[in-house]
Amino acid sequence: MKIIYHCYGGSHSSVTAAALHLGWLDKDKLPNYEELMALPYYDKTNDSDFGSIRFMGRDDMENEIYVLGKKSLGNRFNHILMGVAKIINQEDQLVVVNVMKHVNWSMKIGGFTSRRINIPLLGRPVVIWGTRKAFEHMTRLVEATRLRVINSKQV
């Protein structure tokens, strides 16, 4: 099964969620600056990465985990991706998760400052602070996603 976590830029919340899913981050411990910055793609993307589905790794159930930045397309993007998967009869092989609902203002402002106007010195500490603040919500989202995947495999 392929699981795609998506957010605005595919750089912070989706990467954090994917890392939680893959067990790269401990769900019971708030990650620090170094741990977050060690994640692939975390606060390292540029404009050409929008729309790119990037492979993060395989989880313990052999599911492939991806991240994606889809700008402001919102929840509708879930339907677009699932609709296309349905056209090619692969909808049971795809799970799409919108992480945007857990993105707080610190992540938005920090992410914009770091990636969009390219001032990471200012934006990075803010986005990391925001990521830590949203960490518990993202942990719950990932747990729910893992359960959803397990249940769909059992059906």
């Binding site: 729309g51 402001s72 991706l81 609709g83 296309v84 692969q90």
Partner: protein, 140 residues
């Protein structure tokens, strides 16, 4: 094969392109299936338009202003899901009036302005018809 026409709107230029491709264009665009149907558009699902002369299943989908980004994403998705370009061909329909059409689409949320905005959209589409025709896939 499946052919998916994508554009900023899923119920105007993409519907028109799909029907041009299938050679099923009525004189009155409002008779086209799904034309101007915002409820269908909001679902975010590709809209099935019909089957062309080559047996391909034809769909239309609205993806917002950054059509190129979504095209790239959908083509990668097809590969990731183990399918190929032979399973799904994504055709972007880019027209000069797409910004104006998006604006008129917003305007038509006011019921009183809807007939006027649809009439203006049809006028813009007719102006962009040669451009849409030039973007249709050519099969030999």
């Amino acid at each position: 094969m499946n052919i998916l026409f994508i554009g900023s709107s899923g119920v105007y230029q993409t519907v028109l392109a799909a029907n041009l491709h299938m050679d099923t264009i009525p004189t009155d665009y409002k008779q086209l299936p799904c034309f101007g149907d915002y409820n269908m558009e909001q679902s975010g699902q590709p809209l099935f338009m019909g089957i062309d002369n080559y047996g391909n299943r034809i769909y239309a989908l609205g993806v917002g202003s950054d059509v190129g980004m979504v095209q790239k994403c959908l083509e990668q998705l097809v590969t990731i899901l183990g399918a190929s370009a032979d399973d799904l061909l994504v055709i972007p329909i880019l027209i000069r009036s797409q910004g104006s059409i998006s604006f008129l689409q917003q305007v038509s949320r006011w019921r009183a302005l809807r007939p006027l905005s649809i009439a203006l959209i049809i006028k813009l589409l007719k102006k962009d018809l040669p451009s849409i025709q030039a973007q249709l896939p050519q099969f030999t």
